[in-house]
């Protein structure tokens, strides 16, 4: 374990994340974790890390980092236009860096979030089994907060790995308009115009963060007989809540309880794609049954496995 990276500028919202903190949702501790698991796993695999190693989740405007030692690094996810010592650096491949090298970003070109891995993984003490940062609870990552200038990030001892590039077929596109598969939610029958929900485009508003994505589109109408809120109950990432104003909110990784009606639940792999949308982007919803949803989940997990195999 040694000092690996110095933070010169923290970027818009940069946190340490791993696949998440599981097992404590009954106690009000959300999963947190990387919002785009696919990109997180890819970045780790490119530097020879297991999927549970911590990466930096960078949002829209990336940080400025100085490497303090020789190591290997890789980025995956949205293209935040990275530059290594002033020269463009491509995502989806690993690169050797040395002491004094500077990594900077010029702003988002595609997607919303990028993941930066170093071989051996960023090292912070796990909190309740995870290195994920949960800022509202003030736990995990670096003192439970986003990076700030002057922070020093340590890393574990990684194995020396060769130059690796992810095969083209594994690199996703990040279009600004996507279709998400939704399983009807427990309160879907509260709504009068389900066909509107499944035919209109909903726009991502500026109120979109790790807790939830607030959308804007044709209002969803409650049936006159339906209550506009419910007795609070547990929620999961992907749950689509609809408050009284009829504008849906997709819950991401940082909420365990909700009191709004849930019209549906976005399936897990499509939630990773939502994590790459930014304000102004559009979502269409398409209904699927739970069996098809589970098949899609298993297929997405197999693809993650295949990706890791392709780089092993």
């Amino acid at each position: 374990m040694s000092d690996a990276v110095k933070v010169l500028f923290p970027g818009a919202f940069t946190t340490l994340q791993d696949p998440g903190r599981y097992g404590y949702q009954a106690f009000g501790v959300p999963i947190s974790g990387c919002l785009d698991l696919y990109a997180h796993v890819a970045a780790n695999a490119l530097v020879g890390n297991p999927e549970n190693a911590a990466t930096l989740e960078m949002t829209v405007l990336g940080p400025k980092l100085e490497f303090l030692r020789d190591c290997r690094t890789a980025m995956a996810g949205g293209d935040l236009r990275a530059f290594l010592n002033g020269a463009p650096l491509s995502p989806w491949r690993s690169v050797a860096v040395g002491k004094g090298d500077l990594l900077s970003f010029k702003g988002v070109k595609t997607g919303c979030r990028a993941y930066l891995a170093v071989n051996g993984g960023f090292d912070v003490p796990p909190v309740m089994g995870s290195r994920s940062t949960y800022t509202r609870g003030g736990i995990g990552g670096l003192d439970g907060r986003p990076l700030k200038a002057g922070d020093i990030l340590r890393k574990g001892e990684g194995t020396a790995v060769r130059d690796l590039a992810l095969p083209e077929s594994f690199i996703p596109a990040y279009p600004r308009e996507i279709t998400c598969r939704v399983v009807a939610g427990p309160q879907a029958s509260f709504f009068e115009n389900l066909e509107t929900f499944y035919s209109a485009a909903y726009e991502v508003t500026a109120k979109a963060d790790r807790m939830g994505y607030r959308l804007k589109g044709p209002a969803l109408a409650f049936k006159p007989s339906a209550p506009q809120s419910i007795v609070s109950e547990a929620v999961v990432p992907g749950a689509i809540q609809v408050p009284a104003d009829g504008q849906p909110i997709i819950l991401m990784g940082e909420q365990t309880v909700g009191g709004y009606a849930k019209i549906g639940g976005v399936i897990t792999p499509d939630l990773w794609r939502i994590a790459q949308l930014r304000p102004g982007d559009k979502i269409h919803f398409t209904p699927i049954n739970v069996e098809t949803a589970q098949a899609a989940y298993r297929e997405a997990m197999k693809r993650l496995y295949d990706l890791q195999r392709a780089l092993a």
Binding site: Y22, G23, Y24, Q25, A26, F27, G28, V29, V127, M128, R136, G137, G138, I139, V183, A184, G185, P186, S189, F190, K223, S225, A226, P227, V231, S232, E233, A234, V235, V236, P237, G238, A239, T256, V257, K262, G265, V266, I267, T268, V290, E291, A293, Q294, A296, Y297, R298, M301
Partner: protein, 239 residues
């Protein structure tokens, strides 16, 4: 209150998917102590032994959410297994819930809104303390922030609306009232509850072996302490 039956849903318990890895079991629709015990029994039945493929079991006021791994079990098989477990849950005899006693320094800087709560209910601050500390509060669920308990059982004589303007920072340990609810802030956070006291105990401590002082299904009791006792316990003394 609108009955869910108007929306042509089948009778309780109700089994519904939530996304691709959640099974929501709804046991009823009203918040009361009967529901509290029904959820306790259902949680016990679903976790002894754990249902195959289930990764977390999360209680709500009237619900249990089972999170599962779709690689290990299908929704249909899990719903059938949960249904079978629930069919025997009603006959379970569980030991009475554990009572967690929380020491609270009421009033003063610890509870700046106690005078408002007293005035609002035509009581003296001392009566607020006596009534609040006399209650026994079922812990329906935890959420909002880590370890924050959703408590039932607040006497009507203490019901008080939220602050008109929420505070930007409420210290962890603050004990408050919001309408018919009472609760304990588990971390420093913004909040609009009427603050009547504070506990020196850490409701949530991620570094403790059990980070959570209060579990869903427990009962909470409050015990009035002096500011001196507060400081003694805060320094590590036994409550």
């Amino acid at each position: 209150m609108t009955s869910l039956e108007n929306l042509s849903l089948p009778a309780f318990p109700l089994f519904q998917p939530l996304g691709d890895r959640g099974l929501l079991v709804t046991l009823g629709e009203t918040i009361d102590e009967a529901g509290f015990h029904a959820v306790r029994k259902a949680q016990f039945a679903d976790t002894h032994p754990p249902l195959e493929g289930v990764t977390e079991t999360i209680p709500g006021y009237t619900t249990l959410l089972l999170l599962y791994d779709p690689k290990a079990v299908s929704y249909t098989d899990l719903a059938a297994a949960a249904k079978e477990r629930l069919s025997i849950a009603g006959n379970l005899q569980l030991p009475p819930p554990k009572t967690v006693t929380i020491p609270v320094a009421y009033g003063g800087d610890f509870g700046p809104d106690i005078d408002f709560v007293a005035r609002h209910n035509g009581l003296t601050p001392d009566e607020v303390v006596r009534l609040h500390a006399a209650g026994r509060y079922p812990v329906y669920m935890l959420g909002f922030t880590p370890g924050f308990p959703y408590l039932g059982g607040l006497t009507k004589r203490l019901w008080t609306p939220r602050l008109k303007t929420p505070r930007t920072r409420v210290p962890a340990g603050s004990v408050g009232i919001a309408n018919n609810q009472t609760g304990i802030y588990s971390v420093d956070s913004p909040g609009g509850w009427q603050l009547i006291g504070r506990t020196p105990l850490k409701i949530f401590d991620p570094d403790r072996k059990d980070p959570f002082l209060i579990h869903p299904g427990n009962m909470v009791a409050f015990n009035a302490i002096t500011p001196e006792e507060y400081r003694r316990i805060e320094k590590g003394g036994l409550p």
